[in-house]
Subunit: 353 residues, 2 copies
Amino acid sequence: MAKQPDGPVTIRSAALERFAADLFARAGMTPADARIVAAVLVWANLRGVDSHGVTRIPRYLELIRLGDMNPRPALAIAQETAATVLLDADRAAGPIAMTMAADYALRKARDAGIGLALVRATTHTAALGYYTARVAEAGMAGLAISASWPTMAYHGTRAAGVATNPISIAAPGGAGGPVVLDMGTGIVSLGKLVQARRAGQPIPAGWALDADGNPTTDPARAQIPLPLGGPKGAGLALMIELVTSLIVGNPVLAETLEGTDTGKRHRQNGAVIAIDIARFTDVAAFGREVERLARALKALPRDPAVAEILMPGERGHRTRAQRTSAGIPLPAPVLKELDALATELGAAPLASR
Amino acid sequence: MAKQPDGPVTIRSAALERFAADLFARAGMTPADARIVAAVLVWANLRGVDSHGVTRIPRYLELIRLGDMNPRPALAIAQETAATVLLDADRAAGPIAMTMAADYALRKARDAGIGLALVRATTHTAALGYYTARVAEAGMAGLAISASWPTMAYHGTRAAGVATNPISIAAPGGAGGPVVLDMGTGIVSLGKLVQARRAGQPIPAGWALDADGNPTTDPARAQIPLPLGGPKGAGLALMIELVTSLIVGNPVLAETLEGTDTGKRHRQNGAVIAIDIARFTDVAAFGREVERLARALKALPRDPAVAEILMPGERGHRTRAQRTSAGIPLPAPVLKELDALATELGAAPLASR
């Protein structure tokens, strides 16, 4: 660990992973599962997506305490066809269920050209890009979606009706790693609203509603993100619920909107699709075409407001390279919170690692 | 045909379909193919998506004259796996290739749980919602995408780098018909920019660039739509090119951006995925859950700026019902243009039908 007087603490990713795995194991997960969840969270930190990194640990531990996340899930294949599986996740941590889903999707795609793994009853799925990048690193194209409870306005509503359900698509062949798009369906993420609140910075009109459903630019009042492009983002979020939650028979939105007991619990569903590129074209040729297109886009006249024309995921690859060597910066309050949890669980604090 | 003194002409959908099919057949298509293309275009008119209806006929006929659309294509399966086909469309009209792709996706999904039909070398794919609605009407969930040449700015560019590549997702179970999302990845469609130009109405800041790549609100100068949500819409459009054009080995964007001869021709690629809901849950139960969720969303507090909280595709179902009985309104200039083409091809004009 390295600490500057006023700056954030920086910690090596391997140490951060061991720390996170230690906490999850002490909270009841098997060591193997704990390592998977830790790896997925730290992957997000490495790529600069700190909102989906180790800052989630306190919430994951809370979900275990609440009984919403099962630290010893009995994951099972509930249904299987030539090209699909339906994985019953038994409230596993999202990274456990979704990593398994990505691997099933790959296996099915190898057999059948395309593979689909549907996931019933998981919990917070973390950074979806992890699962599609995993598929892309195996030479296939990946698509992942996940469905959560209502946090975002549905188009035309003045209350949360859908979630900022994310979609991620990845393909192999980028210079620094796969091309990885990972986007929420809101015009802004909940995380960015929280950041604006902490910074006391007004948010643009059209980003969010307050708790009463009124449009606001006041970061202290902004609660409900608006959908990306009105009916487009809202429609995508809704269709993600339909093709995950309703197909696996575990509706999330309606339960919460109706105020049922089930709807008060944290629950998610998801899906991963893999397409075996090698069945249709040479994967190396595909990669060269990705590079060719990237070159053509980067050669276009640049908007002066943007520092550089980037491919999806490119910034994350660079941050990963930088943080792999220099370590992951953690704000002091995050370190403090994590170390308090460590102490509670009898683990060595980060500050000592 | 019914005509008011100053209003648009209205024509029955069946007559409009016969007229369109007549023109396509005279332009060289088989009568069966001509009927399919006509049905897909008129479907868009029936649902109120007039930008993708019979106003496209002149362009389709021009594409045939230019040799970019093949009126007598030899469609062939270039590759097949347990769950996929790669359909070589031989420059067929988009509706021919994509209807066939939807049917292959359905057949493969019936066998394997999920089915993917990739389409190489088609032309304008018309309203994508037609193909996903076709899948949904067969009781499955459908997803369709199509990739076209650069018309939209890529995030950070001041020139067209990607297309407003659309994505459509549909599922069975809506009250008036399937739930059908059909969205472009631009913040605005090219069609809406044309409408604003004709009406002389200024467009909002952030919608478009002029031909020189400068942001503009002048509808006479607006040429290049901006992507929906910056990197999100641009990223989706790019990934659609990767998972269609680059997988089928027929790159569209790079060819045009590099200014090759191939890149000057109108070419598209596409894909349709079907998921067999019945393998995972009861389709009737699925439909009831869709209705339940629609009820919950419609019961939420409504934004007063919006007349009604709608499900994706709901407005289209209503317009279809209304236009099926009352006829399809065609602006007088559209009628005039179509009848001039009819005369040129020796067909009976719409005005006489």
